[in-house]
Amino acid sequence: MVTATTAATVIVAFSLLVTTYFVVWNLAQIAMCPVAALFLWRHQQRHSQRARALVDRLVAPPLVSIVVPAYNEELTIVDSVRALLALEYESREIVVVNDGSSDGTLAALRDAFQLAPAPVAFAQPIETAAICGMYRSLAEPGLVVVDKINGGCKADAANAGINAASGTLVLIIDADTVLEADALSRAVIPFLDDPATVAVGGNIAIINGCRVERGRIAAVELPSSWLAAFQTIEYMRAFLLFRLACASVNGVVLISGAFGLFRRDAVIAVGGYDRTAIGEDMDLTIRLQAHFRRRGEPVRIEFDPNPLGWTQAPEDWRSLRSQRCRWRRGLLQVLWRHRRLIGNVRFGILGIGVLPYVLVFDGLGAPLEIGGYAITGGAAALGLVNWQYARVLLLVSVLLSMAVTFVAVLLSDVATRRYMRGRDLVPLLETIVLEHCGYRQVNSWWACVGTVQALSGKGGWGTMKRRSFE
């Protein structure tokens, strides 16, 4: 009798905790909506077409080195480089880093761009795995290929590219990122406007389902696969709510590895990407924020909500699981490494606002959700579940989450005008509803698996099946 009462008390206490937690989390996200919307509106007003024309009128626009780390990217690398060469920004060089690929990445580049071995001198302020060779293109003066021994991570390849870059700004992208033609003209504006800007991140969308011709998006379509469609919605939420809200208070903590424009000297000052970091992009962003704030120097990390690039989302469960577990391990590692920043007033909004939010909600959300399901299952077995309560809790959680997603779609509509045709509406609504029927729960489960992997010291990047664009 006493045991049953204790179990009931624990269950009620836990359900109250979970209810409060998820309501507060969703309300926090809902509170972010007007902040993000205001930031977006101001951004669109400031970055009018006339403001963007500034870059074309500069006598000497800043040289941007586009660093493309490539590991076994034979299928997409030539199209990617061609698309980069066709960018509307003239003052740029392209540094492809072949990170010891075992496929024909280097051969594909050599054939397509007439690569020739050439002496290329550069200082190596950041330590990387050994360089095997340097190539220049005889067809394209602005193309350099660095061939190096595999460093075991993208960070090492990116660092080699940053070393070899001669631009004052370095753009780090994934080899399969497809950029919008005006991505660079847009992204350099914050650097021109405010000398305190050290980095600019961009809004990235899912390319699955779109038609790509010669490295450019020819037609925007919602992905036909459910997995990719769910990720499309997820990306909208991630890029257009939390990051916009963070940007509005100069507290951006993550510049996606798919598109990040950095001041080269700032990246070198913090030692480049950390080769031991799993979430190397988030780690670098936080180190940049912390470095300048610690020294009392002005720092601004901007986020551009306009569509700047497209990336492939995994379309099979295995690749997605591998990606999500890695993201989770990366998040926990970054939070652990920067634990001294959390709650530290010295780091301003980063220390007292953004990082505590990430810890409490991104860090604890998935374990609490899975814990909630487990406790409910256990309680059901013991006949201790108040089903009305459980039903209401689930419904509230789903409805609040859907409300947040709808706002993210609204912001995406304003910022990108993608998926705006009448025939996109029904699939979009279906996706918003159906992602709650298993997808989000599976994601939370993978986050828990990732947590266990992180605690048990398991690592590795895993592999993702890539497809050629055409």
Binding site: T19, R50, V120, D193, M402, L410
Partner: protein, 350 residues
């Protein structure tokens, strides 16, 4: 316990209705926004179909088309103005600007712009400023200059953009004195000065003489719009005790080109203790063959990386420099690679 659970359920049912309302409102917002956008697009396309050919004809000096535009209903005029003015952002053909300026008064552009300039909404003021600048409405220069003191930073930036487009000599002074205004975006300040070209040079030189504190900024500005006339002053500033002034002056000289005196000072600056100054001195000597510059530059091929790189590029640009580079190709260190790179690039047929 049951009572606690019961109260919790009560709270949750309130929460549920709150959540239902929120999700419904959010979904409705998406639907309404999409519907409004679709209707707007239909209307815009309809107006474009109707007025775009007329605009093209009016720009081609067809007075009948211009009259037809002038007779358009007032509710269509913003769309017509958009068709006329927005292309001017990228197309700065003086003839097109002049024709546009001749057409727009008939479609109530000036009263609309003036009304927008007085609006309490900053984005309307900014829009009006951009439009006035794009059509080069020089009779509004004073109003645009006054907007440089607007309380809203975006309006001030728009005013600067407008003055850039306007290129009215009467506003040069207003632009130049805001060279050090940190509330204005740095890139746009540079673009505004660059738009005036060498017209701003004398003014900047005069200002720099009386305002030594901001000399580095003036030197950077002269890098954008300076000519040979600025060379003596810039050469003098290379000896300024402040490293940032010396570096900026040398950078400007690199853009303008050095003469004998400036080259001698640049060679002397190669021995400066600050690497920024040495790097800019090497850059300034690019293309200069006299005064044994090559030998001095070659001595810096194993200097700090930014200096070495610029010295190598400068050496690449003169026959004597190429000889110095060739003499170092057999070295196995970074200097050797740098020398080989410069020679390879010089020989590459792009």
């Amino acid at each position: 316990m049951n009572a606690v659970a019961f109260r919790a359920t009560d709270v949750d049912s309130t929460l549920m209705w709150f959540a239902v309302a929120l999700a419904t409102v959010a979904a409705a917002l998406v639907l309404v926004e999409r519907a409004v956008f679709a209707l707007q697009q239909v209307r815009l396309r309809r107006l474009e179909r109707r007025y775009a050919p007329l605009v093209l004809r009016a720009l081609a000096d067809d007075t009948a088309a211009a009259d037809e535009l002038a007779a358009s209903p007032p509710r269509h005029r913003l769309a017509i103005l958009r068709l006329l003015i927005v292309p001017l952002i990228d197309d700065r053909d003086p003839l097109r600007i002049e024709r546009t300026r001749a057409i727009v008064p008939a479609i109530a552009f000036i009263p609309t712009a003036e009304r927008y300039l007085r609006s309490w909404r900053w984005w309307r003021r900014a829009l009006a400023l951009h439009a006035l600048g794009l059509v080069q409405a020089r009779d509004h220069t004073a109003a645009i200059v006054a907007a440089l003191d607007d309380p809203n930073a975006n309006v001030r930036a728009a005013a600067l953009d407008a003055l850039t487009d306007l290129c009215d000599p009467a506003s040069l002074q207003a632009v130049a004195v805001r060279l050090h205004d940190p509330s204005l975006p740095a890139g746009r300040r540079a673009a505004a000065l660059a738009a005036f070209g060498c017209k701003g040079e004398i003014f900047l030189l005069d200002l720099a003489e009386v305002d030594a504190a901001h000399r580095a900024n003036y030197a950077s500005a002269l890098a954008l719009c300076g000519t040979a006339r600025a060379r003596p002053a810039l050469a003098r500033w290379t000896e300024d005790p402040r490293a940032e002034v010396s570096a900026a002056a040398l950078e400007a000289l690199a853009r303008i080109g050095v003469d004998g005196d400036a080259a001698r000072l640049a060679i002397a600056a190669l021995e400066h203790k600050d690497a920024r100054v040495r790097a800019m001195a090497a850059q300034a000597l690019r293309g200069w063959a006299g005064d044994d510059a090559a030998a001095h530059l070659a001595g810096h091929l194993d200097d700090e990386w930014p200096v070495a790189l610029r010295a190598a590029r400068a050496l690449q640009s003169s026959p004597a420099g190429v000889v110095e580079l060739q003499a170092r190709t057999s070295r196995t260190d970074l200097t050797g690679v740098l020398a080989r790179q410069m020679l390879w690039q010089g020989a590459a047929q792009w």
